[in-house]
Symmetry: C2
Subunit: 332 residues, 2 copies
């Protein structure tokens, strides 16, 4: 990594507004939703599900966008590339990410689908189940990639969810070339186990062709990637990859696999679990913040754990506290 970077991390992801409500498990069953997963739905299904939901809270979201907001809240320099429509939710998404200190200059789509919406159902156990209408995200393409911006960040981060909209992976490819030309690191989050099921071969190919220096996954995503139900088997497979990987295990902390060398790191304590939405996104924010500063891996994981612990103690995937202050109060 070179030291002359303007940004710590630049990310490409789906630009989404979250619409959150509480729901009982029966509601998920009644609407055929996979608990804990992310299901893609069309606009009509999104409207129907919204009408059936209880009272909502609306907060900007999007996995990689949440990670960039977390990074900025920690005091890092972050930039985001993603597509909204020039409508009210799109304006709110732009307001919120910019107000959080993240550089965001991707022009809004002026026609086509509305800004993406994710209906987030939080069950009494704190687990979240997501149904996403991708909307304007399908308009993201390579023309939205500012190569100079990509080159100006220490790490280029992208989400597996990008494989869902049709042309976003072309945007990824253009960005990946720009990152490599500037000798930057590339980081991928696997996003969701169902998403891994959809694009397993492509993700494995990305990892094995040397496009991924840093990999984020949770336990179920790792199982989906290697098609195994046994954690040790999955970690063994991961050890064979030429990457630095962080595998999160909820309250059990995380496993760090550094080009075959395995270590574990603990989760941070919480008072009460409210909503797991954004746990992985904020963990990645903390790790990327540390990696950009070349902190030891254990310290990177500890910052990730702290950020994740903050976000799961309230509704929404964006931090409520200023994470740099939280970090100052709880040195790791």
């Amino acid at each position: 990594m070179t030291a002359d970077a303007k940004y710590d991390v630049v990310a490409i992801g789906n630009a989404i507004v979250d619409v959150i409500s509480r729901a009982e498990d029966d509601f998920l069953v009644g609407h055929g939703l996979h608990k804990g997963g992310m299901t893609l739905i069309d606009e009509a299904k999104s409207s129907d599900l919204y009408e059936a939901m209880s009272s909502t809270t609306v907060i900007s979201g999007g996995s990689a966008a949440n990670t960039m907001v977390g990074l900025a809240s920690l005091g890092g320099k972050a930039a985001f590339i993603g597509k909204v429509r020039d409508d009210e939710p799109g304006h709110a998404f732009r307001h919120d990410i910019q107000a959080s200190g993240v550089h965001f200059a991707t022009p809004a789509a002026t026609d086509g689908a509305t800004t993406a919406r994710c209906l987030v159902l939080v069950t009494p156990d704190g687990e979240r189940t997501m149904s996403t209408y991708l909307g304007a995200c399908v308009a993201l393409g390579p023309e939205d990639v500012d190569e100079a911006l990509i080159a100006s960040a220490r790490i280029f981060y992208f989400e597996g969810y990008l494989w869902d909209p049709p042309r976003a992976k072309e945007a990824f490819r253009r960005a990946a070339i720009a990152a490599r030309n500037a000798k930057r690191k590339i980081a991928l989050t696997l996003s969701d186990s169902f998403c891994v099921d959809r694009y397993r071969d492509e993700f494995l190919d990305l990892i094995r062709s040397g496009h991924v220096d840093i990999l984020f996954a949770n336990e179920s995503e790792l199982h989906a990637l290697y098609q195994t139900a046994d954690f040790d088997t999955a970690i063994k497979a991961l050890c064979a990859e030429k990457t630095l990987a962080f595998v999160t295990r909820s309250a059990s902390g995380c496993v760090i696999v550094d080009h075959g060398a395995v270590q574990t790191a603990p989760a941070a304590p919480i008072e009460r679990l409210v909503d797991t939405t954004g746990a992985g996104d904020l963990f990645a924010a903390g790790v990327l913040f540390g990696l950009a500063r070349q902190y030891p891996l254990q310290r990177c994981a500890a910052i990730g754990a702290l950020a994740a612990a903050e976000v799961i103690q309230h509704y929404g995937a964006r931090p409520e506290q200023i994470l740099s202050e939280l970090l100052a109060q709880t040195p790791v």
Copy 2:
């Protein structure tokens, strides 16, 4: 009160969507806002202030609307009359209040101003400062009052904020006549000390002409009503009114003045104060729930305190927990 009521309470109020963000005290000073108060602003000022705000959370609000949602959450039967526009925020307001179990059938305005928006700034001490663009609320008029609905509720509740939009007090008058003809109780919340400053004589006239059976106020609103800085003087003045009054004093609980007889009731314990928005609204919800069931006044106040304690421990003025479950766990 007659026993044959379909609803416990029907309320008229401003139908508003809250846009909430955290802010430092300096931000309030820099934008000339009165901490703890509600300031009316026009659409242009609302846009300017929004752009200057940090990342936001959007949750339906409106004082009397919040009270009706709280009443329904406690297990009461509630109805609301208020005006939104047929736009996205208006649709969200309708979705949320109906999903909360409140009857809401006022038709949306099909032209004119957008749905009302309240910009809520929450300072680190948990205090909220509100700037409201009334928008479509100005379209509320007597034609929106369903007299049969008013007659079908044990209590008719209205907010002092109704005096701000030009024709809403005409709606109040029509509703008050319908309530009296059906021998129903009428309840008023004074809403805000600046609001009381604007309409002091009218509010005193309403109270003294026998239009108000039940009065809700906090300490500063009571001071504004009687233009005194001394609490005992204000309570003495209140003792001369022919009403049942509940005066809230934040963490110090409340004072109940029942046609001149004074008693106090405690606040409910909380773990941490996050956002005071909705404290008075939810206190009123609990009291109205109890009064509609002819509970003793101390029990009414205790239910109000419990509901207020729930709402101030998270962002937003709508309860996150199901209040009837909370009440079952914490019998009062």
